[in-house]
Symmetry: C2
Amino acid sequence: MTLYKAPLDDQRFALFDVLGAEAVLTGLEGGDGHTRDLLDAVLEEAGKLAEQVLAPTNWPGDQEGCHFDKDTHTVTTPKGFKEAFKAFAEGGWAGLTMPEAYGGQALPAVLGTATTELFQSGNLSWSLYPLLSEGACHAMELHGEEWQRELFMSRIVAGDWTGTMCLTEPQAGSDLGLLKTRAEPAGKGLHDATTYRITGTKIFISAGEHDLAENIVHLVLARLPDAPAGSRGISMFIVPKFKVNADGSLGERNNAYAGAIEHKMGIKGSATCVMNFDEAEGYLIGQPHKGLMAMFTMMNAARLSVGVQGLALSERALQNSLNYARERLQSRALSGAKFPDKPADNLLVQPDVRRMLLTQRAFVEGSRLLVLYNALQVDVEARAKDEATRQKASELVAFLIPISKALVTELSIECTKEALQIYGGHGYIGENGMEQFARDARITTLYEGTTGIQAADLLGRKILQLQGAGFRHFLEEISAFCQQHSADESLRAMIGPLAVYTKQWGELTMKLAGRIQANPEELGAAANDYLYYSGYITLAYLWAKSVAAADRSSQPEAFKQAKRDTAAFYFARILPRCLMHQAGIEAGVATLPQIA
Amino acid sequence: MTLYKAPLDDQRFALFDVLGAEAVLTGLEGGDGHTRDLLDAVLEEAGKLAEQVLAPTNWPGDQEGCHFDKDTHTVTTPKGFKEAFKAFAEGGWAGLTMPEAYGGQALPAVLGTATTELFQSGNLSWSLYPLLSEGACHAMELHGEEWQRELFMSRIVAGDWTGTMCLTEPQAGSDLGLLKTRAEPAGKGLHDATTYRITGTKIFISAGEHDLAENIVHLVLARLPDAPAGSRGISMFIVPKFKVNADGSLGERNNAYAGAIEHKMGIKGSATCVMNFDEAEGYLIGQPHKGLMAMFTMMNAARLSVGVQGLALSERALQNSLNYARERLQSRALSGAKFPDKPADNLLVQPDVRRMLLTQRAFVEGSRLLVLYNALQVDVEARAKDEATRQKASELVAFLIPISKALVTELSIECTKEALQIYGGHGYIGENGMEQFARDARITTLYEGTTGIQAADLLGRKILQLQGAGFRHFLEEISAFCQQHSADESLRAMIGPLAVYTKQWGELTMKLAGRIQANPEELGAAANDYLYYSGYITLAYLWAKSVAAADRSSQPEAFKQAKRDTAAFYFARILPRCLMHQAGIEAGVATLPQIA
């Protein structure tokens, strides 16, 4: 069994000292009450749920896995999952950031992101059941009709039901334009709305079937009979597991059944279902053929959450590997025994072990800042009092999402690998728990759009199609920061390289844009390196910002020093990774010739 | 189920075109018959065993795993393992490189390395049963007594029995000086030699118990009663599972029992045992207190083999991901449809997918050259006709082993990750087989000395203590190559950077040595980056050598062009990784401050 302690101190530092979240949030529409005290209290409670209820179910849940009964088409989740979900629902967590009109608490998205980190550290598999609900609510909130929100969304917000996103089909993964599931109009139903008969097979449906809640609201992408081919002919439908009566009570079982669950490398407590829809009854959300837009609403929130998953796994892996390095006695320090009264020194005396720990710490704390910064912009986008501020935040969010998703998840593979490595052979043994983190982390760079998809989104859509609007805001922010702190003693070693890299980032982007205009294949040849390059500079900025914030904060001296040490480590030993990614960006498609 | 086709063409190219193995081997003592034809024929047969017998057991073996019966202390290996071992033994593979005096075929080590790659690609878990036998034989060959070789080694060579290496204890992993297992003299036994009573617990013992062979010869590290503390007080003992009578027949069961098997992240078909020795009867190998020397004999061979494991997994993962990229239809090429008559283009049209494939290819084929080059030097070390040549080869081997072990295994984590990534979400599903490669690869950077241990061995022992003897030979070889090919058109883009990096490698090493002399902690701060830095330059040299060899070979044009393309990719997109490792080497221990 592995340790877990909610990292509330670092979350508070990130939110309040670095990002100034209190001033931002209380200045937003409806944000009067969103004070530090309130946020603190919520984090405290979330930490308890994560530590006491969720964390103990993590490893046993991996061992037990989900069980599928093919006769009844039902899924049994691991022991403790149901009780944890009950505690989650009763605590009001399902509606934390949801509108008050549907029973939610309308608290900030950035608080939702912070509490989600804690729950995901507690048990990632378990956290996927409520996660998909969130995306489904967002889609109904922005694109659904009022009666749909009242009937379906409010029950998810209450924690009575959960939601899913049914996108992928065997032949349609990254390319949803290939999907085949059909929807045929079939007379009037609830609230006098047209019902549709949905027929098709969806795969990789997280929480598609389970025993945590009494009903499941599937949001299904399908084609209407008159749909154009490709991604412009996709519509979104609500397809409940149990049909719902007008008064909200459950009706008959809908023809939407799980056909199997997948046996996966990790997240074994999460039921990943094959879903068979056979003339299942559904309701259209939003306009016909506009389902992809509604899907992107779900997707953006889900992508940020998957980034947070990477962070959550890395955090818990770091806590355990640090503890192991402290307690494991083996060999002596290179310059002579540090604990001569013990049979051997601990692993912390080894510089190479500290390198692995500092790598994790630099990524974990940097990633936390990144996702919280991103989430705070989501709040500003939604509720700033003037349009210009909302617009700017919206552009920043669009720019940051692929970085938050892809970079943090890729780094979680590295972090969980380093954490396991510190355990030596003991890391490979199941009961020590480290290998589960590595297996669980492996899904995060695959689902909700692979790293390749995120990289293409960043470079192709966010930089080129949107003319880098969010990118330019971000560069300006960094430049302003560098100017403001150019004379700070404690930032001296950082501001120089940060300014140079930031300038180069802009120039590289311009040059690359020109090459892509001449040959669109250059986009695919550069996107992955461009994403990492951008991500490492982004983290460098956030680390410099951390040091500035630590200096002016009232944190204990040891906390401040740890921030300075980790930032110095990052600038010396991680940021130079940009050099190799620059080479990758500049190498061009000629270095990636056709393969037979 | 995953594909596997033995990569005989590339092995032959590496052995004969690049490394000139035929000329080298036939010039060695006893090497008259080691012609290309003979080696070819052996590879052909090994390929059949790997493809037809081993490969089909790989995924089912992972699913079934090993079973331990705690009442009888026996292990049942997965279905097909026993039959495969029988075929292996009957084919004479257990004795391929063993001395003829004990029933072996005395074929070159480099051929053993090449065939081992094939078997490990076929089924890594299975291959661990014979692998440990090899190390045990080497230890007996070099340090044991004649009667021990006749009684124990010859039976392993015949494939009747297998061997183990019993090193690790719960409190003694990387630091064997901490081991506690005791050995007490107990009168005369076989061949009038002193017997010892061995008592202690060993963990992580691969092939410690199984059902493939009738007896198991454990080579156990333990302390004699008068042993000095630490690693200078360790002796090595032969402890058979069944005691052996003077005529070689099996006697009574020895008190050496498996107490449990580990539940691991991967290599689930390999029984990793806790071994309990309770006054078990053993025989000393070599001199008292000199067990560590005998162990290093086993260890060096085992380390090279673990490097080959990384290669073997990467090769099979590459084959499957390339096949998937060819067959999976999804999305269109960035510059417009390449297969307009199909519903979508295949993944190969995406430059980013080709980047992932070329990364794997560059590492797989480069790693193959590295381990074969290393193994060929093992042959030269053992059987060159003059002492100076043997000495030089021995220094090269010492230098290369930590690179072959650590670099190739670390790259196998990256390669199996990229291969899985190409499958998208489908890579995460067990039955597609890709996640098994990723799980299996994860052990290779841990056992037989972690990457950190290899890095410290390279920099601390091979470079500093041995004054870089092997390193200097290697630098001279690269310099000579650069001079020789300075005018080659097809190598023009490579020789320049290679010469620059090679010069810098020497200079960086000198500077680093100076810093370490001033502060030994600098060794630990730089070793990991130094290992990668050295490894990437080593592969650059081998890739340049490949292009030169392809040019003058009679290989088909497509084969030659693939070598040129992959080499160009390596120089443009992989070699720049040295820039970040250089930064890591230069950063110094100040960037790795103490962690509380």
